[in-house]
Every structure is written in structure tokens, then in C-alpha cells.
């Protein structure tokens, strides 16, 4: 049926066999052969998931945020199930950058997995110190800067909630890495103006943004009548937050149409991934859904190709931000 399409306005294309859809994408200057990543903190460093699908065949593994020193993480309970989501308060448990380089990263490199290293810090200087340890690793796909950390030099104010603090952390990381390593700023939607935070990250040298991080939330145990999580509050993730993520991606893409956006927040299916791409994401990450379905990244990558093909997109890159075009044309 030439002339009919699910795409609304824009070029009316007939459906395309999903096997013929080119789902490679670009994150800035970097070409990525596949569009689905794991979200930081939901895949450890990839090894465990390799039991369930070929982790070298997805866009890449985004490792759990690593800090300078080994961290125990918080006391338990660290988790609560909520409607279509979950709360977590792990406290960035991890081995510290040295151990991480020696074990986790060495394994990923040997396994030839595209890898985005997520880093975190307590101070601006600490972000720089962690990033410098990655400077020689030209094989990394990118470095993601998790700025949803409390800044110990600013009374625990979260970096990502303040434009100047976000910029300071990104500047420090950008300076520590060679220019060939893309820097991705991970943003939170727990702000009044995410576009303003994105702008300061870009001005500080970020090559792209990842969004959204978990939303600050709480559950209370009605038997004990106290918060479920040992730390009181935690991060909400899963499909419950997806519409918030789509909105954030939409707003940032509208302002910076050429900015690479790694979209995440409750992606459970190829249709969910397509929603983020139409809003302006260049690639998507799968997080909490991995806990529900450990082979989800691989499944969603396949489903996304089918969703693109059904709508006549021969290339994923043609769909990036397409909902903006349709929306404008309908006004």
C-alpha cells in the first residue's frame, strides 16, 4: 500500500523488512553499530549478562559508576518494589578505580565489548582523578559522568541539580581525558530546568547527555512504619518513570537538535525504545528491565528494528527526533 504509512506526516514510506533496517547510530563523532546499551548500575560490568546474550552484539555496556576508592555501599535493605518500578539505594558499592581497571575493564577489553565507563566523585577534583586513570584507554566508547552524587564540598548538594557544579565536574573530566574520548553527562530530571543543566554541561565540554537518572523517591514500610530503604530515600526506576524520561529527552532535543542523547528510564520493549528515539534520543539504555528479563537488551534491539521497519524507517538515524517534525507540521 504505497502512500500509506504509520509515520503521519513526512515521507510516506512502505514498511521495510526489519532485517534490512540499518539500526546503527551515531553518538557525536562515534559510529555505534547497534543502538541499545545497558544502563549504568543495572549490568554491573557485563560479565553476568554474558550468560544470557552476546554482550558484544549490543550497542555497549555502560558500567556501574566507579569512584576513586572501594565502597561498601549502604546497609540493607537497599531495594523496594513499587508499581511498574523499583526503588534502590545501593550507595554505589564498588571496588574502586584501580581494582576496576585491573579486573572489570581488562575483561571487557579482552571480550571486545563496546564499553562506556561511568564515573562518579564526591568532589570536583575527584571526578578528575578518576577520569585521569582512563586517559590512556583509547578503546573506550565514551566516559559517562554520573553527576547525581552529593557534592561534599557543597553541603551534599547534588552536582546534577546545580548548573555551575555540573559544569565544574564536566570541565574537570573533559580536561583529564584526551579529546578522542567522548564525554557524556548523565542528567537527572529532578530539576526545574533540565535544559539549563544540559546547556551548562555542553558548554563545559560534554559531547552528549544521558538521561534520565533515577528520580528521588521513598517507600514506607507499613508494618515497621519507617522508610523501607536503609538510607530513607532512594532512586525510582522502571517503566513508572518512562514518561518523565521522554519529556526530558523531548525538551533537551528541542533546544539542542544535534546533541547526542542516550535515552533511558523504564525502556521495556522496542516500542518504548522507539518512543525515546522519536523524542530525540540517538540510542537507548535498558536498566531495570534487565532485572525482569536478563536478555532484554538483545530482545529490545531486535524489537526496535521491527518497530522502525513497520513505520518505513530504513535507518534508525532518520527517526531521531522525528516526533518533533510531525508535531511542528501539525500545528
Amino acid at each position: 500500500m504505497v502512500g500509506t504509512s504509520l509515520r503521519g506526516s513526512g515521507p510516506a514510506n512502505a514498511p521495510i523488512d526489519s532485517l534490512l533496517v540499518d539500526s546503527s547510530t551515531q553518538l557525536g563523532s562515534v559510529r555505534i553499530p547497534a543502538p541499545v546499551f545497558t544502563a549504568s548500575g543495572c549490568a554491573a560490568s557485563g560479565q553476568e549478562l554474558d550468560n544470557f546474550f552476546d554482550i558484544a552484539a549490543i550497542g555497549g555496556i555502560v558500567t556501574k559508576s566507579i569512584m576513586l576508592r572501594a565502597r561498601s555501599g549502604r546497609a540493607t535493605p537497599r531495594m523496594a518494589e513499587t508499581p511498574s518500578g523499583m526503588l534502590n539505594g545501593i550507595g554505589l558499592q564498588g571496588p574502586g578505580i584501580d581494582d576496576f581497571l585491573e579486573n572489570d575493564l581488562a575483561w571487557l577489553q579482552a571480550r571486545k565489548v563496546r564499553t562506556v565507563v561511568s564515573i562518579a566523585g564526591n568532589t570536583v577534583e575527584e571526578y578528575g582523578r578518576v577520569a585521569r586513570r582512563l586517559r590512556e584507554l583509547d578503546w573506550l566508547t565514551a566516559v559517562e559522568v554520573n553527576i547525581s552524587c552529593p557534592n561534599v564540598e557543597s553541603r551534599g548538594q547534588v552536582f546534577a541539580c546545580d548548573a555551575a557544579a555540573s559544569a565544574a565536574a564536566i570541565t574537570e573530566v573533559r580536561r583529564a581525558l584526551t579529546s578522542s574520548t567522548p564525554v557524556i553527562a548523565k542528567l537527572t530530571a529532578d530539576v526545574t530546568d533540565i535544559v539549563g543543566i544540559a546547556r551548562s554541561a555542553i558548554d563545559a565540554g560534554a559531547d552528549g547527555v544521558a538521561m534520565i537518572n533515577t528520580l528521588l523517591a521513598m517507600s514506607i514500610d507499613l508494618d515497621q512504619m519507617r522508610p523501607v530503604l536503609s538510607g530513607g530515600t532512594g532512586g525510582l526506576s522502571g517503566p513508572a518513570i518512562r514518561p518523565v524520561a521522554v519529556r526530558a529527552i523531548w525538551q533537551v532535543h528541542a533546544e539542542f537538535p544535534n546533541l547526542p542523547i542516550l535515552g533511558m528510564g523504564g525502556v521495556r520493549s522496542g516500542a518504548d525504545a522507539l518512543e525515546m528515539i522519536l523524542a530525540g534520543a540517538s540510542a537507548v539504555s535498558v536498566g531495570t528491565t534487565i532485572f525482569n528479563d536478563p536478555s532484554a537488551p538483545w530482545r529490545i534491539q531486535r524489537e526496535l528494528r521491527e518497530e522502525l521497519g513497520k513505520r518505513g524507517f530504513g535507518k534508525l538515524t532518520d527517526a531521531i527526533g522525528h516526533a518533533h517534525t510531525v508535531f511542528e507540521a501539525s500545528k
Binding site: 561498601s72 545501593i90 574502586g96 532485572f291 528479563d293
Partner: protein
């Protein structure tokens, strides 16, 4: 070494009620063949578009790898929340999304020693199978199953079929000896000079069993039931303060390094706490 887990769609071949619990038998290729006592599976609940995202973990109660259905496993479900109620209401021929076998199994002694198997509630689910393996190894087994009340005691028939003595305790005295498993454990251990105690059940019970085993010079292998989000080692929610071989306490994933631990490694008094000597605790603060 853990055997590699698989994700598979299993088919329910039977659901039967026993007391307070439902036993679900599932034909699932790739799990029954390699599973060993103490290992577990996780089950997705609520269907494809479920709002309950977290898989539920169940100890594998038994395996039958020679059934006409191919490999079959049994799990024991206590329907107490919306996820387990959904599971308990499944019917024959329904499908279940399974991942397993997961975790480390109970270590089996090299020599034929006397052992005691202690189960609290449906924690006893995996003990008859363990008992069978121990008897094949030439070990003596004596079992103690306890619960709050008679309907919550699991596995009497299975335990009697395997052999060895079985002592039942209930807190309300509705079945067997009135009291707790730990009230009778010292006597059962002393009778045959038990060298190893295996236990599965709630954490306070495991802690008490560990203490009694230690006081009597025996090893305790305990299978913990810690809340898990993923069950496969990626989420870091199911950690316990575990003392490693160098004497250092680390927040350790019970899904990958457990669920069975040598009780001497488990700092029971510090569960749900973050003692300052835990590896990496000094770097916390802020988060």
C-alpha cells in the same frame, strides 16, 4: 564454580496444595539437568506487562531429569504477596519465565559424616533433596522441620521417604514438639555426634542454628533468603556482611556467592547494618 544459568520458558505440569503452600512442578529444559540442592531459580510474575518487575526467587525443591516431560523442577510457593499469589494461582500448561540454576549449592562432605538438616517453614523445601544426596554419599541424616503452626510445616512426607529421623516442632504445639527447631537441635546433634548442620529458613533461625552448631564444634551451612532484585549478580541489593578467606568483611552478593554460606563467615548481628570495619565502609558518607 556455578553452573551457567539459562533463561527459559517452562511449562507447568502440576500444581498441588500442601498445607499452607503450593508446590509447582515445571518442565524446563536446561535447569533440572544441572541443578544441585541449594540452588535456586527466579520466576517472572504477573505476565508480560506485569507491574511487578522483580523476579521472585525460589529454592529448587527437587529435580526429575528423567521424566517424560524432560527436566522437571519443583518449587514451593508461600502465597503471601501479590506476586506469589499470582504464581500459586497458575494452572497446568501455563508458561513461566525462569532463570536458573542460580547460586552456589550446599557443599557435600567428602567423608560419610553425621549431618542434621534444619528447615524453618518452607525453607525446608530443598532439604529432602539434599538429604537424598547426603545419603548417597554415605552420610547419616537427621531432620528437624519447624514452623509457627502445623499448616506451615513443609516436607514431612518427603523427609520420611528419604530416611533418617524427623523431628517436627511448632511454636503453637499443633504438631510435633511445641517450641522451635533450636530447642531440639542440641539433642539431635549430640545423639549421633553431628559434624555438619545444614539449615534453610528465616535469618533469626539461621543465626540461632549457627550458634548452636558452633557451640557443639560442628560446621553449619546455611541457605539465606535475602531480598533480591535480579538474582543474577548485577543489582547489588542482596548483599550480606560476609567474612572472606583473608578475614576481611565485604558486602557480598547472596545470589552469586550464596545463597549457601558457611555460617562462620556470616556476621548475623550486623545484617541490615554497616559496621565501620566492612571493606569500603570508610569511603561512604554523602551517599
Amino acid at each position: 564454580m556455578n553452573n551457567n544459568p539459562v533463561q527459559t520458558i517452562g511449562k507447568i505440569i502440576g500444581v498441588r496444595k500442601t498445607g499452607f503452600y503450593s508446590v509447582i512442578s515445571i518442565a524446563c529444559a536446561g535447569i533440572a539437568e544441572t541443578a544441585r540442592p541449594g540452588q535456586f531459580v527466579t520466576v517472572a510474575v504477573g505476565g508480560e506487562n506485569s507491574s511487578m518487575l522483580l523476579r521472585r526467587a525460589f529454592s529448587i525443591a527437587s529435580v526429575d531429569d528423567r521424566s517424560s516431560y524432560g527436566g522437571v523442577i519443583d518449587i514451593v510457593v508461600s502465597a503471601e504477596g501479590p506476586g506469589t499469589r499470582w504464581l500459586a494461582s497458575r494452572k497446568r500448561d501455563d508458561s513461566l519465565d525462569l532463570v536458573g540454576p542460580l547460586g552456589k549449592p550446599y557443599p557435600i562432605p567428602k567423608n560419610p559424616v553425621a549431618t542434621v538438616l534444619v528447615g524453618g517453614g518452607y525453607g525446608a523445601a530443598n532439604l529432602p533433596w539434599l538429604g537424598k544426596v547426603l545419603i548417597q554419599r554415605g552420610c547419616r541424616i537427621d531432620s528437624i522441620y519447624g514452623a509457627a503452626t502445623d499448616l506451615k510445616v513443609y516436607g514431612q512426607l518427603e523427609a520420611r521417604r528419604i530416611g533418617g529421623s524427623l523431628t517436627i516442632t511448632t511454636e503453637d504445639g499443633s504438631l510435633g514438639t511445641m517450641g522451635r527447631v533450636t530447642d531440639v537441635l542440641p539433642d539431635v546433634m549430640a545423639k549421633h555426634n553431628a559434624a555438619v548442620v545444614y539449615a534453610c529458613g528465616p535469618m533469626p533461625m539461621l543465626s540461632a542454628v549457627a550458634q548452636i552448631a558452633q557451640d557443639n564444634g560442628a560446621i553449619a551451612q546455611v541457605a539465606v533468603e535475602e531480598a533480591m532484585a535480579c538474582g543474577i549478580g548485577v543489582c547489588m541489593t542482596c548483599v550480606l556482611p560476609i567474612i572472606d578467606e583473608n578475614g576481611i568483611t565485604k558486602m557480598t552478593r547472596s545470589c552469586i556467592s550464596g545463597p549457601v554460606f558457611d555460617a562462620a563467615q556470616v556476621r548475623f548481628a550486623d545484617i541490615n547494618r554497616l559496621p565501620s570495619d566492612v571493606y569500603g565502609a570508610d569511603a561512604m558518607g554523602g551517599h
